[in-house]
Symmetry: C2
Subunit: 307 residues, 2 copies
């Protein structure tokens, strides 16, 4: 009954999370879907039993994800990097890419080509081959990018792998994305593959909507909580920026506390940059708590996109 009434509510009134949970019911399942709608990518069996395929898509739209006067090379970089970050957060290698572009008829060919140069730049570095797409006229520039990736069967790292007592890590500093990082970030494809290969990671996602929102999506899968250390976030940027800025596109993952030293050591040998241990998974609460010198406070929910 409540469900039926909702049908008359507008998308703007409902908010993204409730709309998505309704739409998820239309997601299909068959014996070859290992993980359907709800994670960073879906995970599907392939014709080769040793290999799984992951799928994701993202929209990057003028006025929402970039300013109308933004350098088109940076727009292309961001658009494709967002889907590559989803692929990375499963621990997969990018494979096939398709791009639907909606562009105003006044746009110069040079600008459109510059967008594709930005896309090509990232694909050349991180993998993924552009094999298709569509072009339509429209008043607002929009890039809808689809990506597939592959990884060994059964090794995709889901959000739902989170375990009580796990340490929570990020692959880099959070916060301050508005200064330009949100356009020029390099998706952590190599790091994701390395982490998956390590066999030590329980759960993983990328920080796109902000630490609080993305961590919440992870802990909700197991109805657990998280304790985050304020002093670590302070060392990244500021506590508030690290918690809420979003568009950091670092990987957020958990491991058993037993492997703390080995993960740190091997990571540093490979990437020559620090791995950030930001807190741990707890069952004393189902919230995210910020711990600061012996005191703590519960954190309100983060950013919920548009709608």
């Amino acid at each position: 009954m409540v469900d039926e009434l909702r049908k008359n509510e507008s998308l703007g009134d409902l908010g993204e999370d409730r709309i998505l949970s309704r739409l998820a019911d239309f997601g299909g399942w068959n014996a070859r879907v290992t993980c359907g709608i709800g994670d960073d990518c879906s995970v599907c069996r392939t014709e080769n039993p040793a290999v799984d395929q992951v799928f994701t898509s993202d929209a990057t739209i003028e006025g929402i994800h970039f300013r109308i006067d933004e350098d088109p090379v940076r727009v292309g970089r961001k658009a494709v990097s967002r889907v590559l970050s989803d692929i990375a957060s499963m621990g997969a290698s990018p494979e096939w890419i398709l791009i639907n572009v909606v562009a105003p008829k006044e746009m110069k060919l040079g600008s459109l080509e510059a967008i594709y140069e930005g896309i090509q730049e990232r694909l050349n570095t991180l993998g993924g081959v552009l094999v298709g797409g569509d072009l339509t006229e429209g008043s607002v520039l929009a890039l809808h990018i689809f990506a597939s990736g592959t990884l060994p069967h059964g090794t995709a790292i889901l959000r739902s792998g989170v375990v009580n007592g796990d340490l929570i890590w990020t692959t880099g500093k959070l916060g301050g994305s508005a200064a330009g990082k949100h356009l020029d970030f390099i998706p952590r494809v190599r790091e994701g593959i390395w982490l998956r290969n390590s066999g030590l990671v329980h759960a993983m996602t990328d920080v796109s909507d902000g630490l609080v929102t993305d961590l919440k999506h992870m802990i909700e899968t197991k109805k657990v909580g998280a304790a985050i250390e304020a002093r670590v976030l302070e060392a990244m940027s500021s506590v508030d920026q690290a918690l809420y800025d979003g568009e950091d596109f670092e990987l957020l993952f958990t491991t058993s506390p037993d492997v703390e030293e080995s993960v740190q050591k091997e990571w540093r040998k490979t990437f020559a940059k620090p791995l950030w241990k930001i807190g741990s998974v707890v069952t004393s609460t189902q919230e995210i708590q910020l711990h600061d010198e012996g005191t703590y406070r519960s954190l309100p929910g983060g950013y919920s996109h548009h709608f």
Copy 2:
């Protein structure tokens, strides 16, 4: 030099064909891409040497592909059927589907769900499993749908398979799509798979932009021409409607003239509807000619989308 000057031209002045030929240069190639940008789908090798995968994406946008007051179930049907028609035109079976939606915040949840019902209806009948997507707020309703499909290695039917002397066929009547067929058509997935299995088809595409435009895309690949019979088109709808209406979403394919009778006979046994033989491939011209009781005329180019 000419190329450099083009960079300052607007997309509207250039037109779709020239834009797409520039963008195709950004398409990637590696040893596993059998057919890149330029056909109805790209064709890629998979981890299983016996199976190829095909990929396509299409945009379906309010005001361009459907009216603002259209029944949302029909909008969903059309959006997904367009990509399923691309999959059909390679002879492939649909597999994974992702949908990026851009929707106004005033839209009712019930309308959005009705779009997904239309999509689900087609997938339930024709195959393909919805495994992902994205939702963004925007003033104009847009559906960007991505689809993959599979088929036995090396069996994808390309436009470029066309051979001089081939007969040209369509799987159904052309013309008159504006009366509603463009929303409710059933993509010829079963027919496409059957035709591929027959082993008799040289080249195939779907009639989306209109017979003249889509046939032109086929014969251009081999710099050959086509002779079309006016009396056959007349029997479908009217000559002009059949040539130019577009959005018929029938399959357009060619076979050797030697198999004319066996194709007709086997087709009729399976589908209980006629197969339409509309003309033949010729080398006397690189145009499309309309033949009518001993006379003929060259046909001007067809509809070129938007831009």
